[in-house]
């Protein structure tokens, strides 16, 4: 055997031994797929910042293993691209966990991959109930529209409102929200006088406002994706005199998410939303979270629900690494955190062992003017809300 060949063989043997050996202070990679450019870049940015805040508070190692995050940019809902990126992360980067996912289709697309590679996937945002049914390795730390809308419908009914009209953007989450609200509100004895589904690309909302006015409803339940359409909708609500006419405005908290509040301005005042996180949440842990964010990034304007989704998701990844001692065992990792309870900046959380979505407190908030601009002020808390939409809504 030539010396060269011998060295090569020896090198290969050592290499194999290292790879196959037990986790000796390894680096565990987590692949994060989210929008980091394009119109939804803020969402990816909040994910990344929240992960950095978590690592600044808790260190970058778990039991001797270093946790390293690898970020992949997916600028819009694109399932094929999501799958390709996930494959690259699993095969080339050898990630032990997938995370992120702002849009539902992107999260759904990776189900066959995580099943085959047996790695857990922590969803930081995508909020359609059906996702976690597609693989036992999905875990979700955000919320679902059912989770936000069911307690809201009860709350609206308890306020003495009898007739409500719903107005939602015509796409998956909008229809989830409409169904959840309508079912719950009618069960409680209220009446939904009309359901309006608005095109996603609407720019002019005056005709819908006229329809709302003519319907004789006392309140609206509205859901639109955060961004320009919500702003135009809220403005139209004010400008066409609906607010002045005393019609109340309810909806899931996306519509008054913190980064949009300065642009919404006075148009947002008085909107009552239900959501799992407000930057103004009064707890020591949230204050520490927001303060650390400010220390690292200078501003807290972008701290919103996607931030806590990523923060708690990172927490779960740390717990899974801890439970498996750094070994790659997706099923064991997910089993270890089922029923896990912990304290988050948003309040107490518990992972539902069936739906693998967090059971959490839903806060009813009103948008008011605080010391430095608009805030979502919590006015009621409804604890222990599960994902009512799991398996098609109970």
């Amino acid at each position: 055997m030539s010396p060269v060949l011998r060295t090569a063989l020896f090198g290969t043997a050592v290499g194999l031994a290292l790879m196959a050996g037990p986790a000796l202070a390894a680096t565990i990679k987590v692949g994060v797929i989210a929008p980091f450019s394009g119109p939804f870049a803020t969402a990816g940015q909040t994910f990344k910042q929240a992960i950095e805040v978590y690592q600044a508070q808790h260190g970058k190692t778990v039991g001797g293993d270093t946790i390293e995050f690898v970020f992949k940019d997916l600028d819009q809902a694109n399932p094929a691209q999501s799958k390709a990126l996930a494959q690259e992360l699993i095969v080339k980067e050898k990630v032990g966990y997938l995370a992120g996912f702002f849009f539902t289709p992107d999260a759904l697309a990776v189900a066959p991959l995580i099943d085959e590679a047996k790695i857990p996937c922590v969803i930081f945002n995508a909020a359609t109930s059906a996702i976690t049914e597609k693989s036992p390795l999905y875990v979700r730390t955000s919320f679902t529209l059912w989770q936000a809308s069911v307690p809201l419908a009860d709350y609206v009914h308890k306020q003495g409102v009898k007739k409500v009209i719903t107005a939602v953007s015509d796409y998956g989450p909008g229809i989830d929200g409409e169904t959840a609200f309508k079912t719950t509100f009618e069960k409680a004895g209220g009446q939904v006088v009309d359901t309006i589904r608005m095109p996603l690309k609407s720019t002019d909302f005056a005709p819908f406002m006229q329809r709302i006015k003519d319907s004789g409803a006392e309140a609206i339940y509205a859901f639109l994706p955060a961004g320009p359409t919500t702003l135009a909708f809220a403005k139209a609500f004010n400008d066409t005199g609906l607010k002045a006419a005393g019609i109340k405005f309810f909806g899931p908290g996306d519509i008054t998410q913190e980064p949009d509040l300065p642009a919404l301005g006075d148009a947002a005042l008085g909107i009552v939303t239900s959501f799992h996180y407000s930057q103004a949440h009064d707890s020591a842990m949230n204050k520490a979270f927001v303060a650390k964010h400010k220390e690292l990034f200078g501003s807290t304007q972008t701290v919103t629900f996607t931030s806590v989704g990523a923060y708690d998701g990172t927490h779960l990844i740390y717990k899974m690494v801890e439970a498996t001692g750094g070994k790659s065992d997706g099923a064991k990792a997910v089993d270890a955190i089922k029923n896990l309870s912990w304290e988050s900046p948003r309040g107490p959380l518990k992972l539902d062992p069936a739906s693998r979505t967090v059971i959490q407190t839903m806060y009813i908030r009103e948008t008011v003017r605080g010391a430095d601009g608009l805030i979502n002020k919590e006015i009621a808390a409804i604890p222990d809300q599960p994902d009512y939409g799991y398996k098609g809504g109970k």
């Binding site: 015509d170 329809r211 066409t240 642009a263 301005g265």
Partner: protein, 289 residues
């Protein structure tokens, strides 16, 4: 009856906003025959400048509106000299598309970098908030203001293009540049002024339309189809055509959304298809102004 009245009023208000934000494109695309896909980018830059002026510097709204229109034109004229002048003429259509869409991407990225990806607003002054009572129907004061400005812009442009020497020279230069130049018309200067006019109108539309089309870095790409639709239906180069197109599309869209919201944008695009099928060159193609 009240419903019909409501739809017509809302439709006219929406149509006038469409007119204000598209009329600049009608000037560059229609009169100068430059496929200016950067129209939305100029409108967006003006909107951001106005937002900055009103919010950070405390400039009154109307002053900011005029100053921003002037400033945007001043920023665009060097671009005309350096870039646009090379691509005038119908032989350069592909070059026009590539250059202006490239310019749009540059503007989108720059605005995203400088102002960030969050929504910006232009706070309205006291007299433009609230509603105006029009008998059985109230409309937002801001829309009433846009209708007034839109009518003024329509009449002003018509007068400028039909009733002045400038208009005659411009139309001559567009029809036959060589002959116009031979007759002593300074076509280059004429084109620069007209380009400035188009950009100024884009800026006006960007600021006034910000209530309806909120400012964010992807504004420039997001709404370009809307602008092009109005100009295509109106007939390239016709100011009255653009107004007629904007108003009819506004009324059709409003009626469709009010009566059958689940059909979504169907009526808007169906109307475009039917109109272009009947009048392939738009309402007023061939007639000047």
């Amino acid at each position: 009856m009240q419903t019909v009245y409501g739809i017509v009023i809302d439709g006219i208000a929406y149509g006038m906003i469409l007119f204000i934000i598209s009329v600049g494109l009608s000037v560059t695309l229609g009169l100068m025959r430059v496929v200016n896909l950067a129209h939305g980018a100029f409108a967006m830059v003006a909107g951001y400048l106005a937002s900055y002026a009103v919010q950070a510097m405390g400039v009154p709204y109307l002053v900011a509106l005029l100053a921003v229109v002037a400033l945007t034109v001043a920023l665009a004229l060097p671009l005309e000299r350096l870039l646009y002048r090379r691509i005038y003429g119908s032989a350069n259509e592909l070059a026009q598309v590539l250059l202006t869409i490239g310019l749009t991407f540059v503007v989108v990225a720059s605005v995203n970098y400088i102002f960030g990806p969050t929504l910006k607003r232009i706070p309205l002054p006291e007299f433009l908030t609230g509603t105006v009572d029009l008998g059985p129907k109230e409309i937002p004061a801001h829309r009433a203001f846009v209708i007034v400005v839109g009518v003024a812009a329509l009449l002003g442009l018509w007068g400028l293009l039909e009733r002045t020497d400038f208009g005659i020279r411009l139309r001559a230069a567009v029809e036959n540049p060589e002959m116009a130049a031979a007759l002593g018309i300074r076509t280059e200067r004429l084109y620069a002024i007209t380009f400035g006019l188009g950009v100024g109108l884009a800026a006006l539309g960007g600021v006034l339309g910000a209530e309806l089309l909120p400012l964010e870095p992807y504004y420039a790409l997001r709404y370009i189809v809307l602008f092009l639709a109005v100009v295509a239906v109106g007939g390239a180069g016709s100011i009255f055509g653009s107004a007629a197109a904007a108003l009819s599309l506004g009324i059709i869209d409003t009626a469709g959304k009010y009566l059958y919201p689940s059909f979504g944008e169907f009526f808007f695009y169906a109307a475009i298809m039917i109109i272009l099928f009947r009048w392939p060159h738009g309402f007023f193609q061939g007639k000047s102004a």
